[in-house]
């Protein structure tokens, strides 16, 4: 039974519990019955002794011995009772083995069990001394009662108890299975609900209203998992729409320009112009596709390979040098402070820092100073670039790293980066076991990323 049904398991467990309960009760009843039967047996023997005792103590007739024998014969007619009488006077002796019986019972209080007669049946026996009177010497009177009917009662109780207990347990199992099935009905209902949820009905959730307490939490977590998936799905959908949109403009230009060019006879120079313009659009498409592929690689969890141990300040310096002429044109200065050693794939690091610097230059006013900082703490190196800027509302800061997100909606197609620059920074950080962050405080916007340092979580060197 590899896949166990809850109802079946509950039924089995309940019947096991019931069986244990029945066994306990059965044992107690059995003990009680046995004790009562033992007392009853004692009383029977006592009664038998009592029957003769009165006669022996109070009888004064001379033929008392014969009358006692008659009485014994009458009392033992059914074979269930036996008497023994012992004295030194043979006239006052009765029953075989009377001397032994008298002696045996002398040592016990109450009754004892003994095998009696040729067939060795179990008898409960007890004896009593009777003081001498005018008509007889000192006597020992012993009475025995066949206990077979009593043990029979106990035995038949035991024999009946076992099947009754098993039957009861089975009954409990069957009933609790039914009950569990009824109790689990909400689960079946949930599963029916869940079956109705699909890509077209993403808004649907499991119904919360009439649920048992135990399922409440489960349904809550399940629904919030669905919420998260829904959000991711929606983001993916809008992302696809964004990609389509980004590709649409260059495609439209390409088609339109080519059609216009072909509508009339054109000279070679004119056609050359069109081809060159087309090539620019195609380059734009290529860049978007390559960047998308790059992001997809990072998203698949690809890590930076070909990592080398470098001084981040040195590499950052090289990137700033790359920007020298651009900075000069923009009238912006960059200072670099701090340093850390880290394992990085340098081309990826340059790319990330380039995108950060480009972002900063784009948003910094003329004459501004851009600060590039490197620090290391807690197993990671941090690289950040700050530039003076209008404050960005805190809720928008994380969105800076979204693909195609542009803080400045008025420049939707500024050809630099296609709105993928910071998304690529995030991807590169992830490829080095790091993350990105953005702050906006005191007129400075700081955007940066971290890199896991070798001791903490070394990127694989390959």
């Amino acid at each position: 039974m590899s896949r166990r049904s809850i109802a079946l398991r509950l039924a089995l467990m309940f019947s096991a519990v019931a069986l244990a309960g029945f066994a306990l009760i059965g044992f107690a009843v059995h003990e009680l019955l046995a004790r009562n039967l033992a007392r009853h047996q004692q009383e029977l023997v006592d009664d038998r002794i009592e029957d003769l005792d009165y006669m022996l103590v109070h009888g004064r007739s001379t033929d008392l011995a014969d009358r006692v024998r008659d009485k014994i014969a009458a009392l033992t007619g059914d074979g269930r009772t036996q008497y023994w009488l012992w004295s030194k006077d043979p006239a006052w002796q009765y029953g075989s083995d009377a001397a032994r019986m008298a002696e045996a019972t002398r040592t016990v209080q109450g009754s004892m069990l003994m095998p009696v007669g040729a067939d060795m049946r179990q008898f409960a026996v007890a004896g009593r001394d009777i003081a001498p009177t005018a008509v007889h010497p000192p006597l020992r009177l012993v009475a025995g009662v066949d206990i077979a009917p009593i043990t029979q009662i106990l035995r038949s109780f035991e024999i009946r108890l076992l099947p009754v207990m098993l039957l009861g347990a089975l009954l409990v199992a069957a009933l609790s299975y039914r009950v569990a099935r009824v109790g689990l009905k909400p689960v079946a209902q949930l599963s029916a609900d869940a079956r109705r949820i699909g890509p077209d009905t993403r808004q649907q959730r499991l119904r919360m209203v009439p649920l048992p307490l135990e399922l409440d939490e489960f349904v809550g977590s399940f629904n919030s998992a669905l919420d998260r998936l829904d959000a991711a799905y929606t983001q993916l959908e809008s992302f696809n729409a964004d990609v389509a949109h980004e590709l649409r403009t260059p495609l439209a230009n390409l088609i339109g320009q080519t059609q216009v060019a072909l509508a009339r006879e054109r000279g070679a120079a004119e056609l050359g112009e069109v081809l060159q313009s087309n090539l620019e659009e195609l380059e734009r498409l290529r860049t978007i596709v390559s960047d998308m592929l790059f992001l997809a690689r990072a998203e698949r969890g690809e890590r930076a390979s070909r990592c080398v141990q470098v001084s981040l300040a040195h590499e950052l310096g090289k990137t700033v040098e790359f920007f020298d002429m651009l900075l000069d044109d923009a009238g912006v200065k960059v200072d670099v402070e701090g340093d850390a050693e880290a394992l990085v794939e340098t081309s990826l690091f340059h790319r990330a820092v380039t995108n950060l610097l480009q972002n900063a230059i784009q948003h910094a006013p003329r004459g501004a100073r851009i600060h590039a900082r490197i620090s290391s703490k807690g197993g990671e190196a941090e690289v950040s670039v700050s530039n003076p800027s209008e404050p960005i509302p805190p809720e928008l800061l994380p969105r800076l790293f979204d693909r195609f997100y542009r803080a400045d909606a008025s420049r939707p197609n500024s050809d630099a980066n296609h709105g993928l620059g910071l998304a690529i920074v995030k991807a590169i950080a992830a490829m080095h076991g790091g993350r990105v962050f953005a702050r906006s405080e005191e007129g400075l916007v700081t955007v940066g990323f971290t890199l896991a340092l070798p001791e903490a979580a070394g990127p694989q060197v390959g």
Binding site: S290, R297, R300, E302, M325, L326, T354, A416
Partner: protein
């Protein structure tokens, strides 16, 4: 330069053949792995352009069997830029790889880099028409006029002069002048070219530094070229 193109996509193979032929290469083309392997093994080429996904025999297999007999330089073209493909290609013995979509200028630059290896002549004085670039004294003279350049401007001019007549993409320039090995979307190279041009071209009658829109830049003396405004 003898080039073998092994590529099943007809349009790609056709434009590569045309482009490389026009650049002065002699080109063989194979459209599947079996033909490709035959040509690669039985003929001598200076360089092979090999698509990774081929009918008949896939690019990696072909490369492995080729490497067993020959060391012809190979540039792999792959459509997927997963590390696995890259590593697989390089491990199988590829000398370089390009990820589709790649630009023709880029491919040509890599082809030249592979065929130039080991036979670069180290000139100390480069001439492009009236322009003289002295690599030792780091002096630039045009029509008897000394031109002052910053270090980076000089490095840029040196690269263009060494490869005169060859179109250099922005990516190649960024790689060789600034050591930035990625597809940059910045306009750093444009700005640098503009500055260089302002110093060594604009003051003179004949432009030497030409922009090839959508492709890159080339330094060469052209008959009947018109002055270009920056």
């Amino acid at each position: 330069v003898k080039v073998l193109i092994i590529e099943d996509e007809r349009k790609t193979a056709d434009y590569l053949r045309q482009g490389l032929t026009e650049q002065g290469c002699s080109v063989d083309v194979a459209h599947d792995g079996i033909d490709g392997q035959h040509l690669a093994v039985h003929h001598d080429h200076d360089v092979i352009v090999l698509d990774a996904m081929l009918p008949g025999l896939d690019g990696f297999e072909l490369l492995r069997s080729l490497r067993a007999v020959k060391n012809t330089p190979v540039i792999m073209l792959t459509a997927r830029d997963g590390v696995e493909d890259r590593v697989r290609g390089l491990r199988a013995g590829a000398d370089d790889y390009l990820i589709k979509p790649f630009s023709f200028v880029e491919l040509f630059a890599r082809l030249q880099a592979l065929t130039r290896r080991g036979r670069r002549q180290e000139a100390t004085l480069l001439r492009v028409g009236p322009l003289h670039v002295d690599l030792i004294s780091r002096r630039v003279v045009r029509e008897n006029q000394r031109i002052d350049l910053t270090a980076k401007e000089f490095a840029l001019l040196e690269l263009l002069a060494r490869r005169q007549g060859e179109i250099l993409s922005k990516t190649t320039i960024a790689e060789l002048v600034w050591d930035m090995h990625f597809d940059s979307t910045t306009n750093v190279v444009e700005v640098a070219i503009r500055r260089l041009r302002a110093k060594m071209d604009t003051p003179f009658a004949m432009p030497l530094l030409h922009t090839i829109r959508g492709m890159g830049y080339v330094l060469e003396e052209r008959e009947g070229a018109h002055p270009v405004r920056p």
